[in-house]
């Protein structure tokens, strides 16, 4: 399977039609999910209207972790099997993951002020999510700092895999330590405690974030493949002259 998807030509052929489909799906899901979440989902019985922030905050948190997991798998694949597109995929995913993590942190802060009475607290969940954002930034900085792309890919993959230890810490932080942040109410043993009137728009928004990620990832990977073709051609010309 890896060999099948390792072929850049095949990826370019598949992504040429899959990218517009993913982009259209993201636009459709946002067009339904945003007004549903913003205007028509019921307010929470305890938190009132401020719980609407959940519909943009929670999918950002889920996918900030999900994208990092995707990057760790791609990095592992690149290191072990020298998969031709693995480091391209990890590199293209990083700015999207960083944006999702930043969105999660900022919207969480806006939710924290009316709920907890503070914009920020050095609590386990908030701090580990900040560490995740900083890991994304460090990963991107490492790629930018090293000119030799093979070396950059290897070092960035090692950093990504080392940083993966933070993902279970983010998820379980609310169980392992006393935290201002509520414990898991959706992905937990015993099933979700959320009513379906709130769960449905939340899942719609989560689907929109995922479709947007898929479209942005394919666009980023295609741009990176084109960039490498230009670099390879420039190198060939330089060697010939």
């Amino acid at each position: 399977m890896f060999a099948y998807f390792a072929n850049p030509e095949r990826f370019m052929r598949i992504s040429a039609w899959a990218l517009p489909i993913a982009a259209a799906l993201a636009v459709l899901l946002f067009a339904i999910g945003l007004p549903w979440a913003f205007l028509f989902a019921p307010p929470d019985f305890r938190q009132g209207e401020s719980a609407r922030i959940m519909f943009v905050h929670v999918p950002a948190a889920w996918w900030a972790m999900g994208i990092y997991t995707f990057m760790a798998i791609a990095s592992f694949t690149g290191l072990v099997w020298r998969h031709a597109l693995a480091d391209v995929a990890a590199r293209a995913a990083a700015p999207i993951g960083a944006a999702y993590a930043a969105l999660c942190l900022i919207t969480g802060s806006f939710w924290g002020q009316p709920t907890w009475g503070t914009w920020w607290e050095w609590d386990a969940r908030l701090t580990s999510m900040l560490v995740l954002f900083l890991t994304y930034v460090g990963y991107l900085a490492l790629w930018a700092a090293i000119e030799d792309e093979t070396r950059a890919a290897r070092l960035a993959a090692i950093l990504c895999l080392a940083g993966f230890i933070n993902i279970p810490i983010v998820h379980f932080s609310v169980d392992w330590w006393n935290s201002l942040h509520q414990t898991a109410s959706i992905i937990r043993s015993g099933g979700s405690s959320m009513d379906k009137s709130m769960m449905q728009p939340l899942l719609m928004m989560a689907g929109a974030y995922l479709a947007a990620f898929a479209a942005l990832l394919m666009a980023g990977m295609r741009a990176e493949v084109f960039r490498r073709r230009v670099s390879a051609a420039a190198l060939r010309r330089a060697r010939a002259s």
């Binding site: 209207e49 401020s50 609407r52 922030i53 943009v56 944006a99 009316p114 980023g220």
Partner: protein, 57 residues
């Protein structure tokens, strides 16, 4: 979804004491995706055009 029209829902939401915390989150989410999309389109157009230019020469 409730039976309220979008205008009723918006008016009710804007009257809430936490309105000032809610709308910036949605505005930020929309702006984030708009910027990510714009960045992706610009990057893709730029490198696709340059790669096609290289293939021609």
């Amino acid at each position: 979804m409730s039976d309220a029209t979008w205008f009723d829902s918006l008016a009710h939401l804007m009257a809430d004491k936490n309105w000032g915390y809610i709308w910036p989150c949605y505005a930020l989410a929309v702006a984030t995706f708009a910027l990510l999309g714009l960045r992706a389109v610009l990057l893709l157009r730029r490198w696709e055009a340059r790669a096609k230019g290289v293939e021609k020469t």
